[in-house]
């Protein structure tokens, strides 16, 4: 019986994923209403449950894709993979109010530049203080503090060692997770209320996964504005990391 059920679930991965995620969302909605009296957004709880399951999956299988590495939940990999994620993000653009987006155009670009340079400086500085004092390691770890894609792309371009690359990816992952979980908590401090503020947030907080999940858990209406800016983040980082930022670091530490 159980075997047949398992086989059915494993053979229909995406459908299983729909059912599982539906269950998680339902559960977190109940937790939000009953335990926090609506103070913590249901989607924030759902994302935390997702991260918890990812940790559990990672310890069970030793893989790198969380729950998606378990054959029974392989469909999660498709449902939450880059393809469907980007498809759903693009779909949210249907709700964008053009006048609002245009108002924030310039500040969005400024936020994007700051969001690349500031985390880089902070990350490279902390790497330096921990003894990674050569320009290549500092740049790679600093780039990881931009996003977890910029880190390895930059590191590969300038020839970083594998352990520094792993550190750089870990930095980006921790950043994405902090943004996902922290945004709804810090929403008031960040003054996240208007489309313009969401675009500033999208530019500065970086990481599409962090921004999209953080905004989803704060206010669903703000998602397209933040995502619109954040999607340029990785590209800009990959552009600046191995070039301007690496040369500047090299000029500073030799």
């Amino acid at each position: 019986m159980v075997e047949i059920l398992q086989k059915a679930a494993a053979h229909n991965g995406l459908v299983t994923a729909f059912a599982l995620v539906g269950l998680i969302v339902l559960l977190s909605g109940e937790i939000s209403r009953r335990l926090t009296f609506g103070r913590v957004h249901g989607s924030a709880i759902a994302i935390v449950i997702g991260l918890g399951l990812a940790y559990w999956g990672g310890t069970q299988t030793g893989g790198h894709k969380g729950l998606a590495d378990m054959s029974l939940f392989g469909g999660i990999g498709l449902m939450g993979g880059a393809m469907l994620r980007d498809f759903a993000i693009v779909a949210t653009a249907f709700e964008v109010q053009v006048t609002e987006a245009r108002k924030a155009g310039l500040i969005g670009v400024v936020a994007l530049l700051l969001g690349t340079v500031l985390p880089f400086i902070v990350g490279a500085g902390i790497a330096w203080s921990f003894g990674y004092s050569d320009a290549v390691s500092m740049t790679t770890i600093g780039a990881g503090a931009v996003t977890y894609i910029v880190g390895p792309v930059t590191g590969a371009a300038i020839g970083a060692s594998p352990d520094v690359m792993a550190l750089s990816i870990a930095t980006g992952l921790v950043k994405a997770i902090i943004v996902m979980v922290g945004t709804p908590i810090a929403a008031r401090f960040l003054a996240l209320k208007t489309p313009r503020s969401a675009m500033v947030f999208g530019g500065l907080a970086g990481t599409v996964s962090g921004v999209s999940a953080g905004l989803a858990a704060t206010d669903r209406k703000l998602v397209p504005y933040g995502a619109l800016v954040a999607t340029f983040h990785t590209g800009l980082g990959c552009l600046m990391g191995p070039s301007v930022l690496f040369l500047a670091t090299k000029a500073l530490v030799g």
Partner: protein, 138 residues
């Protein structure tokens, strides 16, 4: 037909990714530059154009809106496949630089967004009408 909406979304998505890849190649970067953002802009323009030409019935819109509404569930699935184990195993350098980077950016976001409120403060007071008939309407 609902598929028209989903197909429109798919075409915008593919075209955006394609243009982003081209842009990345032109800039000499090994990655896609803003493909999803370009796709979003394409979809916004497509909507404006089609709405003006009256080519956007409710059912077509639903084909896009369904996927917009599936956004949060997709994000939950994305969270469930993060590499939490290696993120936590990264040690103090990874955790500290991530926290410091997020903290710095959070302060800058708060500063910029608070400036917006002071800029918007002189919102004109609602004009009060002398005419009692108009006042009743408000």
């Amino acid at each position: 037909m609902i598929i028209y909406g989903t197909a429109l979304l798919a075409v915008c998505h593919l075209l955006g990714i394609f243009l982003g890849d081209l842009l990345g190649q032109a800039l000499g970067v090994k990655t896609n530059v803003g493909g999803v953002g370009i796709a979003m802009l394409l979809l916004i323009f497509a909507r404006l154009y089609m709405a003006k030409k009256d080519l956007l019935p409710k059912l077509t819109e639903l084909g896009v809106e369904y996927w917009g509404a599936m956004y949060i569930p997709v994000v939950v699935a994305m969270a469930a496949q993060q590499d939490m184990v290696s993120a936590l195993r990264g040690g103090p350098v990874a955790v500290l630089s991530a926290i410091a980077a997020v903290g710095t950016c959070a302060c800058v976001i708060a500063a910029i967004n608070r400036m917006e409120i002071t800029v918007e403060k002189p919102v004109p007071e609602p004009i009060l009408h002398d005419n009692p008939l108009l006042a009743d309407l408000e």
